[in-house]
Amino acid sequence: MKTAFKLAYRNLIGAGLRTWLNVFVLSFSFVVIIWIKGVLVGWDYQAKTDMTNWEIGEGQYWNRNYDPYDPFTLADSHAPVPDQFREEIEKGDMEPLLLVQGTIYPRGRMQSVAVTGINPGQDIFLLPTHKLDTATDAVPAIIGALMARDLDLSKGDYFTLRWRDARGTFDAKEIVITDIFSSNVPSIETARIYIPMETLQEMTMLEGEATLLTYSDSEKERPEAEGWVHKSKAELTSSVDELIKTKTVGISVLYAVLLLLAMLAIFDTQVLSIFRRQKEIGTYIALGYTRREVVGLFTVEGAMHSLLAALVSAAYGLPFLAWQAKAGWTLPMDASEFGMAMAQTLYPVYSAGLVLSTILIVVVATTIVSYWPSRKIAKMNPTEALRGRIQ
């Protein structure tokens, strides 16, 4: 085998430009596949990190009536915070949120919103809730940049909020925007306003009640709580996993096309080699190779393209991939249009597993397409091959 590698290497290097063209095409596949996979892994990491920091913490308890996809459930999705969580809430490791259906009237228009009550002193979320602790003549509120853009709202703008209290009575108040935040999580920025928890509880006559309980300690054992449904971080981020999976399947088509092009080049080279190098094949046999060993030699020779490609990829791919990991890739379209946690600039994340699995896939694919045409050698007549006669 060592001899086959040595000879294959000599043959490949000796073939000159033809080898390097194949190697370059293959190395391009290596770099693009690793880069795209890296972007997906980076997106997954960024989306989950942003969701953790802005929306879900390390997990949540949902009021059993709460359904994020049905705003009509909000009327009944609240209950007193269970006593078993009091200590954790007082320590700041758990944050209750109260969600109420409301309507705002900015600039004479009407918009349904989820009014979210949140403690201004919380530090589980990156939301600038300290801006809710502002003395104003109206109820202070913070909103996301997406909503501000859609409704053309700015810091300091006033508008009316209408809601129904626990008895079903409509009421209204003036709201002032004290801050506009920008996250990469559209679900917390779209049709949502944040006001102080105590104010909302008072407005709705739901003192001591909450819709969601978000915790920050991922290590702690999470007990059952009556009337509440525990949602782990994995469950809450499953939508990201699903989307990444969908994207991965879609992008796999691109990998397949790239690999196919590279494999086609290798396959053609192998077919041409076997056609052109019949005399050489005969010589190998005359000098002591069996036909099967010559098949092995040609297979190793073809497969070695992928090893050379890995080296060439390292030469120009490593600097490119490292630069991308640092500078990121800015999406050409508005990331918020994706409707889920996604930054405008994605930072690829590469793991050893990603690089090794890519190399393995390419090496195996190259070996198969190298072996395939080489099988013809096993049927060759060595005496005809020695004379270079086409068989």
Binding site: K279, I285, A286, G288, R291, P382, T383
Partner: protein
């Protein structure tokens, strides 16, 4: 098999399929070649000399009869055993040199030693010795396309001789060479035969080669026509 015999062929027949019929290339060949001989299969094109050489070289198998080469029944060897015999005991020299074009002269000559898994230092020594013998030490880094025909054939001889084989099979070794180069090549091979006692078996119809042969086995139409020893017609053996 006789002790001194390196090749012994009994009633050997070789046929090739030709459409729905068969073409008989070798007919009832009986032949013995001793160790250290400098012998040639002589005859016109189509007389069967290359076919016989290929069978002796275990590159082909007889249709019937038997051929013993270095105590190996070449028609009955497995592919691996035949390859082993070629690798260890046989050297080949071809009409069109059959050098590996992308390899240097050194690498071409080194090739058989690589297959024998000889250590790098030993390989280097043996290759340099062979190249020195053939006056090619100044060409070790050249590649075959950079060499003349005579130089290419000398590289091919070096490659055949480097592992010190018991038998060298040369198929029309001078066909692509001019007269001067042909004589040089033949003198070199004769010297190797004399000094190393390596057996040479040629397939040729070139008068220049025939004149150097110590024993000439004339083939005609797939049969041995006559065998002439170096001493002349006195030892001629007719098969007709």
């Amino acid at each position: 098999m006789e002790n001194s015999a390196i090749i012994k062929i009994n009633d050997l027949v070789k046929t090739f399929p030709m459409g729905k019929t068969h073409f008989t290339a070798l007919k009832e060949i009986n032949l013995t070649i001793g160790r250290g001989e400098f012998t040639g299969l002589v005859g016109p094109s189509g007389s069967g000399k290359t076919t016989l050489l290929n069978i002796v070289g275990s590159l082909d198998t007889p249709t019937s009869g038997e051929a013993w080469v270095l105590d190996h029944p070449v028609g009955k060897l497995s592919a691996r055993q035949a390859a082993q015999l070629r690798k260890e005991k046989l050297g080949f020299i071809f009409q069109s040199y059959n050098l590996l074009a992308v390899h240097t002269v050194f690498e071409n000559v080194e090739f058989p030693l690589l297959l024998l898994k000889i250590s790098a230092s030993e390989r280097k020594k043996l290759v340099m010795d062979a190249l020195e013998w053939l006056g090619l030490t100044d060409k070790i880094k050249s590649k075959p396309p950079q060499l003349s025909g005579g130089e290419c054939q000398r590289v091919a001889i070096a490659r055949a001789m480097v592992k010190k084989p018991s038998l060298v099979l040369a198929d029309e070794p001078t066909a692509n060479l001019d007269a001067a180069n042909s004589h040089n090549i033949l003198k070199t091979m004769l010297k190797l035969n004399n000094e190393l006692k390596t057996t040479f078996l040629f397939a040729t119809h070139d008068e220049k080669v025939i004149n150097y042969l110590k024993r000439k086995i004339y083939l005609f139409d797939g049969k041995i026509d006559k065998i002439i020893d170096q001493e002349g017609m006195g030892k001629q053996q007719n098969f007709n």
